[in-house]
Subunit: 325 residues, 2 copies
DNA sequence: AAATGTATGTCAATCGTTTAACATGTTTGA
DNA sequence: TCAAACATGTTAAACGATTGACATACATTT
């Protein structure tokens, strides 16, 4: 591929001059500029971003380390991040660590090697590993990571509360909370807190069920939900840790011949695609993923410009009422 | 961050020597090797991949240009591609072009600038643009792209045929095909061909309905499906262009009080998450996405090693029978 | 006429590696 | 004993840009 030198030779100038028209720096006559541009066109010149990055000592790449790509929530998140990145002229380097601390560590190193402009991580080794001296801003998404420069999360507790309120106001007296992992400080745990608190305010004490396995999408929760509903036949409301779980709760109800929302009301979380693909559609807690993604990118930008940024950015969630309540 | 020079200074050697232990080239005494490694450890040295790439004249990054990230099919595809890439020590540079030719072109240029090791594109400007002289292998996914080095796709026609066979053998006499865009050479078009051909063999001539809009996920197809079913009340089978569409077909049936699979049978396509989140679960045509993704990465690898590769790799699909037929 | 500012362009160091070409010993084997 | 092979390490030129320091020429001011 053609280099700056080739272009320079073509128009009979030094590479320095050509570089200046490329970067719009210094004084350049209109004629020279035109000549250079023409030569670039002619040689199909494409600036070598690798060389540029080395010289400038920075890249325009943002690393992403996610626990899943296929899960609808992360698919949506990654999609939003890509868009926000694009709007600010960043590219996305994508890694999927499947929640395995060892992989996360490896990918963090990969990001260091590649001198990314920033790293957004949704880590599951929050307490295991401390990342420091990275050389670029580290944004923790939906997790509290001590070594991060900033955390971006939604108000999970508020979400739990909204769900409780919805279920109870719609008549539920025996609600339950269903979710996967629930380590302290993780979103699911905070959703539970919010849920339980509001229930308590209404004088209700709900069941809580944590799924055995927690492999994101590998497992089907439906059988476990069926067992749960059989063991707690009076349950009249379910707050599910995600829309995927909520969808499977609908399946479970369908299998057991329980009418939704008649005999059982369901509230999901996230407001992602599955919430609108089921029958009935799922009442859920909406996370403003787009805004949260935008915040991540902006935080990196600001941090890199030397601005100081809030260590936590918490976003409000809202209830989206559909067919399951 | 520490550089090779720093490490060299630390152990009192030249950078050349240090580079050799880093790359396991040439003769190095065990002692020197140990010293160097210790120094690297001590200085928390991390090789600068940017400099490396510049020097080696190649990166270990594979570009991905997709029309969507959030759509379950692409979420799955990207997930599989990331895994296969990781297994071969590649990283993923992710772009989403939303099917906009202009964006695709821009991203192809970005990949050129970044000197990717290869580019996998699921392009919607197949006929609009010709990419040539890229400097790296171009793999076209699920599309026939003239300027590509290789195409990877599933046997969409076979899939259409399988769907027709399933519907008809299960008793449908008035099946219909529902899908989004349908330009010649696109998967949807080939699925239709396969579907129509097999129907014809059975002496049946099905309806075909193309959705107005085609914005992947922005649009809800449900209302259009409802209209269709109202206008064609005898329809007893639906072959949907994707599982997402199939899920919405179930919703439409539910709204109209049509029993699935009793009065209406449905076959989807892809076999991705939504297929197992609905009630009933969707009978669908399974694409071996994992294998297809692996093939993409391997093709790039081989092409870069000078091997010649098949210009087309077509994968068999299979019927996965679930609750909608 | 000297000083200042504007306009145009060149030069060479630098970014952090890789790698071919050398230099210099030390073993071995015939 | 001499050459070949082995072992260890150095040097310096790439890779393809960026960028501060200069050089030169002309047009205005003062």
């Amino acid at each position: 591929m053609a280099t700056l030198k080739d272009v320079a030779r073509e128009v009979g100038l030094s590479v320095g001059t050509v570089s200046r028209v490329l970067n719009n720096r210094g004084y350049i006559s209109a004629e020279t500029r035109a000549n250079v541009r023409a030569a670039m066109q002619k040689l199909d010149y494409q600036p070598n971003e690798v060389a540029r990055s080395l010289s400038r000592q920075r890249t325009s790449t943002i690393g992403l380390i996610m626990p899943s790509i296929e899960h609808p929530y992360f698919a949506r998140l990654i999609s939003c991040l890509e868009r926000s990145a694009y709007e600010r002229a960043y590219k996305i380097l994508l890694f999927c660590a499947y929640g395995i601390p060892d992989q996360e560590k490896k990918f963090v190193e990969a990001c260091r090697s590649n001198r990314v402009a920033g790293l957004i991580i949704c880590s599951d080794s929050v307490r295991t590993e401390t990342f420091s001296n990275l050389g670029f801003p580290l944004i923790s998404y939906e997790r509290y990571l001590d070594s991060s420069d900033a955390c971006v999360l939604c108000d999970n507790e508020e979400g739990g509360g909204l769900a409780a309120k919805e279920l109870i106001e719609r008549g539920c007296r025996r609600p339950a909370y269903l979710c996967g992992r629930s380590r302290v400080g993780m979103p699911a745990d905070m959703r539970k807190d919010g849920f339980l608190n509001v229930c308590r305010q209404y004088g209700i004490s709900p069941e809580t069920y944590l799924f055995e396995a927690d492999r994101m999408l590998d497992v089907q929760y439906c059988p476990e939900i069926i067992s749960f509903l059989k063991e707690h036949p009076c349950t009249d409301g379910l707050f599910c840790g995600s829309d995927v779980i909520a969808a499977e709760a609908i399946q479970a109800a369908s299998v057991l011949g329980i009418d939704v929302p008649g005999r059982l009301k369901i509230v999901g979380f996230d407001d992602v695609l599955p919430a609108v693909l089921t029958s009935p559609k799922i009442t859920t807690i909406r996370q403003p993923v787009k805004e949260m993604a935008k915040a991540c990118i902006e935080l990196i930008d600001k941090k890199n410009s030397g601005e100081s940024v809030p260590s936590r950015s918490v976003f409000h969630v809202s209830l989206v009422r559909r067919g399951t309540t």
